[in-house]
């Protein structure tokens, strides 16, 4: 019983990170109808920005203090938001009217570019992430241990998801975003600046991925330029599982994937962990391609 509860807690904190990345996939899919392959690498850049900012800030603010943590988060989220906007502007915008396949190939190109440019700049050897959140057990009972990092991961993720929901549901730009994802042409006729909305979507999604990257690095403190590939793919699975284009679905999907992965990790199947996540993806796409909360879309001629 105790072990099950512990796996559940681990799963939720891992799932919260997947959910943050999945939100970016789903939002970008919502407005542009394409899978941003490079999203997992923005997550990686987020972790690296966190690493450099944390090291720079440690001269002014003590590592582990609340001020330093906030600076690290805000800085890496800003860096990635700008990077996301830049990528959209340089690589995806010229292709807006092109076939989907062209955009997909470009996204693969961007993803590889970010990975290997980082490898050139930062080196391929993993680096230890500074202990920005001083870790000790928060709740320690016989059944379950929750440490500070796990709690921070869960709380931060949920706060960000809530903030995103407020942005999407209550603000003007959020309404515009929903309008664009509902019908781009009609939205444009209503005077919505599509490019602006797309840029904003990329910025928000990338900022969330950056936050995910910093949280991930705080929990698993070893970062390297290829660290974004697998979490990125798993978050994509989460987005599809929840129903791509659906924000609540992405959060739900992330949780499910995190929990499933954490439970599998505790069994004899642990070496098959990554394969099982992909098997889930294949299963959904075959049996319910619209995901748990997604709507069915019929392709028209």
């Amino acid at each position: 019983m105790g072990e099950i509860l512990q796996q559940l807690v681990n799963g939720i904190s891992l799932g919260a990170i997947y959910a943050l990345i999945a939100l970016g996939y789903t939002m970008i899919y919502g407005v542009l109808r394409f899978i941003n392959f490079a999203h997992g690498d923005i997550f990686m850049i987020g972790a690296f920005s966190g690493y450099f900012v944390a090291n720079a800030v440690s001269h002014i603010l003590p590592t582990g203090s609340i001020g330093a943590v906030i600076v690290v988060f805000v800085a890496s989220m800003t860096i990635c938001a700008l990077l996301g906007a830049l990528i959209e502007y340089l690589a995806y915008r010229p292709l807006r009217k092109r076939p989907k396949l062209t955009v997909l190939i470009t996204a693969i190109g961007v993803s590889l570019f970010l990975e290997y440019l980082s490898q050139l700049l930062f080196g391929a050897t993993p680096r230890g992430f500074p202990e920005i959140i001083s870790n000790h057990a928060l709740i320690k009972s016989k059944a379950v241990t929750i440490d500070v990092v796990g709690a921070v991961v869960i709380i931060t993720s949920f706060t960000l998801m809530l903030a995103l929901r407020v942005i999407v549901m209550k603000t003007k730009i959020g309404t515009a975003m929903r309008a664009v994802s509902f019908n781009q042409q009609a939205a444009s006729l209503m005077g919505i600046n599509i490019s602006k909305v797309i840029t904003f979507t990329f910025m928000t999604g990338s900022a969330l991925a950056a936050a995910g990257g910093v949280l991930y690095a705080a929990q698993y403190p070893s970062i390297d330029p290829l660290m974004g590939i697998l979490p990125g793919l798993k978050a994509f699975v989460a987005a599809v599982l929840g129903g791509i284009g659906n924000i609540t679905g992405a959060a739900l999907g992330g949780m499910i994937i995190g929990i499933v992965e954490s439970f599998i990790g505790g069994t004899f199947l642990s070496t098959y962990r990554d394969a099982i996540v992909f098997a889930i993806l294949i299963g959904i796409l075959i049996f319910k391609p619209s995901g748990i909360l997604g709507k069915n879309e019929v392709e028209k001629v």
Binding site: F34, A91, R98, L104, I286
Partner: protein
Amino acid sequence: MRPQLIFALIFAGLIGLSLVTGKIDPYYYTVIIFIGINITMATSLNLINGFTGQFSLGHAGFMGVGAYVSAIASTFLTTHGLGTEVMGGVPVMAIALLVGGLAAALTGLAVGIPSLRLKGDYLAIVTLGFNEIIRVIIQNVDFKIDGISYVGGARGFAVPQLSSFLWVFGIALVAIYFVENLINSTYGRGFLAVRDDEVAAEAMGVHTTRFKVRAFVIGSFFAGIGGGLFAHFIQYITPDNFTFLKSIEIVVMVILGGMGSTYGVILAAILLTIMPEALREFSEYRMIIYSLMLIVLMIARPQGLFGSETFTRFFAKRKAAANKV
């Protein structure tokens, strides 16, 4: 000149060349062999991605299946009396490649039937997923027959050396000949129809799913043989030889050459095999150059360097130009 004759002449040339390969510097020889294997891989992927328009990111998975299954076959045969001493190893290699190719084709069938209902992005990511699943499964397989270790999981698998210049380029030639003839046959128009407009093809009575699965199975078959050639050349394979990054490498060849252009893809395969070797001092820039090339190509010339020209159309055009004069 009839294409059959051209291919026969090239084959004769290959036999001639294979007599002198022993004198080539081993380093250049390795590069040449990799060119041949990459031509097979890229030509077979071109059938799926280029001619049938189904974007697969899992070609290295099928290559891996072929590599491992053929290696199992050849290891088993060489330790059970059918080694290199029997007719210079030709029968054992032929059986190994055939078994590897068939295993890859079967995997292609198993992967293709469910995933080919999907389109574009989804198909790409599902094939990538299958690629990773295949790799993880290989990583977890390890068994022994008569005290000899097979597959070896993550540790790797030692394979007898059976590939040669003639095998590698002979197979490449067969792959090119097969794909070119298939696409230019009445039957093969179905593949192009699926690519150009699926709904219209369906309306004209083309069984689109069947064509997609066929392209997948044929492509996987040659990928499996390519894997077999690769395994029997480098003599030591690990699951890490067949990650989805390898798939992307092959995809880049197809895109650079121009999806649906056999000779463009062949040139791209040659170019992209030589380039990293020529730029060995700048090896850390290799993937950066690849990725930038993809991005710039998509923005400036999405049809690839050679568009969708084909061998025969290329010759036909020249003939037409000659007739005009």
